[in-house]
Amino acid sequence: MGDTALILGEVFLDTLSYWWVIIPTIFLGLIVGGVPGFSAANTIIILMPLTLSMDLEMGLVFMVSLYCSARMGAGIPAILVNIPGTAGAAATPLDGYPMTQQGRGQQALAMTFVASSLGGLLTTIIALAAMPILARVGFYMHSVEMIVVMLFGISLIASIAAEDMLKGLIAGFLGLILGCIGTDVIYATPRGTFGLLELYDGVPLIPALVGLFAVSEAFVIIEKKMIITKAAQATMAKPSWAATFEGAHIAFQRWWHIVWTSIIGLVIGVIPGAGASIASFVAYQQSRSFSKTPELYGTGHPEGLIAPESANNGVTSGTLVPLLVLGIPGGATAAIMLVVMQYHGVSFGPSLFENQPKIGYGMFMAMAVSYIFMFFTILPLSRYMSRVTTIPTIYLAPMIISFTLVGAFVPREYIFDMYLALGFGVLGYIARRTGYHVAAILIGVILGPLLEKYFLWSLKKSEGDVSILFSSTIGNILWLCLVLSLALPPFLEYRRKRKAKVT
C-alpha cells in the first residue's frame, strides 16, 4: 500500500512536469473533438510518427490528454450550434442547445466543463482504485447482457417520445431500420443497400451525425439573423464572468448527479465496444427517469446537460481498464494506444503493474492531471466561446455545411459519404420541420446494428431459443433494473399526483 502510494505520488509529479505537452494538447483536442469526423483516434493516427518519436511516457501523456480533451471538445458545438462533434456528444444538445437559444450558452459551457472535468477526474480515481473489480465487468458482459445495455440506451427514445409517443416511436424505429442497412453479421447478406457497395458495411455514423444534426440545423438557422433569441442577444451583448461562475455553481450544486452519471459512463466504458454514445444516452435517460422534474428535460434543464457530459467523460477512464488489465482495447482510441504501447515493448495484464507500474498508473495519472488542467484552462474560455452564437447566420450556416460535410468525407475518404450526409440532412430538415426528433433517429442508427449483432449472436448460441435472453444472472438483474427504471418514474409520478390531490 505504502509502495503504491509512493509510486502514485512520484507518477503524479512526473506527469505534472509534462504541463507543456498537456496544455497545447488540450487545445488541439478541443478543436479535433469539435469538428465532426476528426475524432481523437483519427488525430492520434495522423500524428502517429510524432507520437512514436516521443519517449513512451510523453507519448502516453500526449495521447491521454488528447483523448480526454477531444471528448470534452465534442460537447462545445453540441451546445452552441446544436452539432455534436462526435456521437458521444449526441445527447448533449438535447438540453444544451435550448440553453444557448435562451442566451445561457456561457452558463451551459461552464456547466459542461465542470461536469466533464469532475466526472472524468472522479471516474479516473475510481478506476484506479477499483481496477481489479472493474476489469471483471468486461468478462461477464456477453451478448445477452449487452442486449439489455443497448435497450437501456434505446429506451431514451421513449423519453424523447414523451410529448408525442407516435412520432417518437416512428423516428426511433426509422433510425433502427436505417441502422440495419448493410450486410447481416452472420452470413453477410446485403440488405437495403440499393446495390451501393459503400453501404455494405452499414450506414457510416459520421455522415449520419453530420446530416441529421449539422446540415439540417444549418438550413433551419438561416431563417433567423442569429441562432439566439432577441432577448438572448441583449444578454450576450454584455458578457460577464458572472455567467461563467453561475454555470459552474449550478454544476457544483449538482455534484451528486455528476457522481452517479459519470459512474454509469465508467461502467459502460469498461465494456469493450460499448462506448460514449451508449453511455451518454443511458445516463440521460436514467437522469430523466429519476428526476423530480422530468418535464423540464429538453427545455434547457441543467441536469439534462450534466448527465451525458459526465457520462461520456466517465467512459474515457473506463476504456483504459480492459486495455491495461486485459490488453483488450475498449474503443478506437484505446486500440491505437495499445499499438503505440506495444511498439515500445509494454506488456499488458497484471504484470504491467508489477513490472512497469509507472506506465500502468501513469496513464490514469495523466488522465487525472489532464482533467485538472482542463478545468482551469477551459473554464475561463466559456465567456469567449459562447460569442460564436452571435455570428450572423448568413456566415455561420455555410461554414457549418462546408466544414462538416468534408468531415463526413474524412473517415472513409468516399465522396459518397458527403452525399449520404446530404441525404441525412434532408431527412433531418424534414424531421425538424414536422416535429420528429433527430436525436431519436440517430439513437436508432447508432444502437440498431449493435443490438442486432448481439441479438443474433445470442440466438445463434441458443440455436434460435429466445429464452436465452433470460438465462444469465447478471442479464436478469439488468432486465429487472431496466423494467424498474421504466416503470418506477410513472408510478412515482402517479403517487405524487395522488398525494397532491389528497392534500
Binding site: 426509422l174 443497400t193 455555410p398 462546408s402 475518404e413 424531421a431 420541420r433 443474433l456
Partner: protein
C-alpha cells in the same frame, strides 16, 4: 391566439412525409431480405412490425383529424415561397454543387467558392468584399490546419497540389 388556431387546424400533409418515407423504405428493405437466411431477417421483421404499426396508427389519426375538420393535408413549414426568396433553395443547390465539384477542384478552392457564393445568396449580395475576405480566410485556414499541419486526407485539387510542390 395564433397558437390556438394552429392547434385547431394542423397541416398534417407534411407530418406524413417521415411516416410515408418510413413505410416505403421498410417495404423496400423487406423486399431485399425476402429470400435471405433468417439471421438477416429476424431483427428487421421485429423493427418493421413496430414501425409499420406506428405509421399505420399515425395515418389513422391523421385521417380522423382531417375527417373532423381539425387538420388538413396541406404543407407550410417544409417548403414555402420564402425558401426561394430567403435563399434556402439557393443554399441547397450550392451544397449539392459543393459535393459535386469538390472531387475535381479540391477542398480549398471549392470551399472558397461555396462559402462566397452561399454567403452572397443568403446576404442578398450585400457586403461582397467582406464576404470574399471571410471566405478566403476560412478556406485558407482550413487548408493550413487540416491539410498542411495535420495532413488530413481531404479531396485534393489544383490548389493543394500546387502548394504541395511549392512547400
Amino acid at each position: 391566439m395564433n397558437n390556438k388556431n394552429e392547434k385547431s387546424h394542423r397541416l398534417m400533409g407534411e407530418e406524413l412525409l417521415i411516416p410515408a418515407f418510413a413505410v416505403i423504405f421498410t417495404l423496400y428493405f423487406l423486399s431485399t431480405i425476402w429470400h435471405s437466411p433468417w439471421t438477416a431477417k429476424v431483427s428487421a421483421y421485429l423493427i418493421a412490425t413496430v414501425l409499420m404499426s406506428a405509421c399505420g396508427l399515425f395515418f389513422l389519426k391523421t385521417g380522423l383529424l382531417v375527417k373532423r375538420g381539425k387538420a388538413s393535408l396541406g404543407f407550410g413549414k417544409v417548403f414555402s415561397k420564402e425558401d426561394i426568396t430567403g435563399g434556402r433553395v439557393g443554399l441547397a443547390l450550392l451544397t449539392i454543387g459543393y459535393c459535386y465539384f469538390i472531387e475535381d477542384l479540391g477542398f480549398t478552392l471549392t470551399t472558397f467558392l461555396f462559402l462566397a457564393a452561399s454567403m452572397l445568396v443568403l446576404g442578398k449580395g450585400k457586403r461582397p468584399s467582406l464576404i470574399l475576405v471571410i471566405s478566403a480566410l476560412m478556406a485558407l485556414g482550413g487548408w493550413v490546419v487540416f491539410i498542411w499541419a495535420f495532413d488530413t486526407h481531404f479531396p485534393m485539387g489544383w490548389f493543394e497540389t500546387t502548394m504541395k510542390e511549392l512547400l
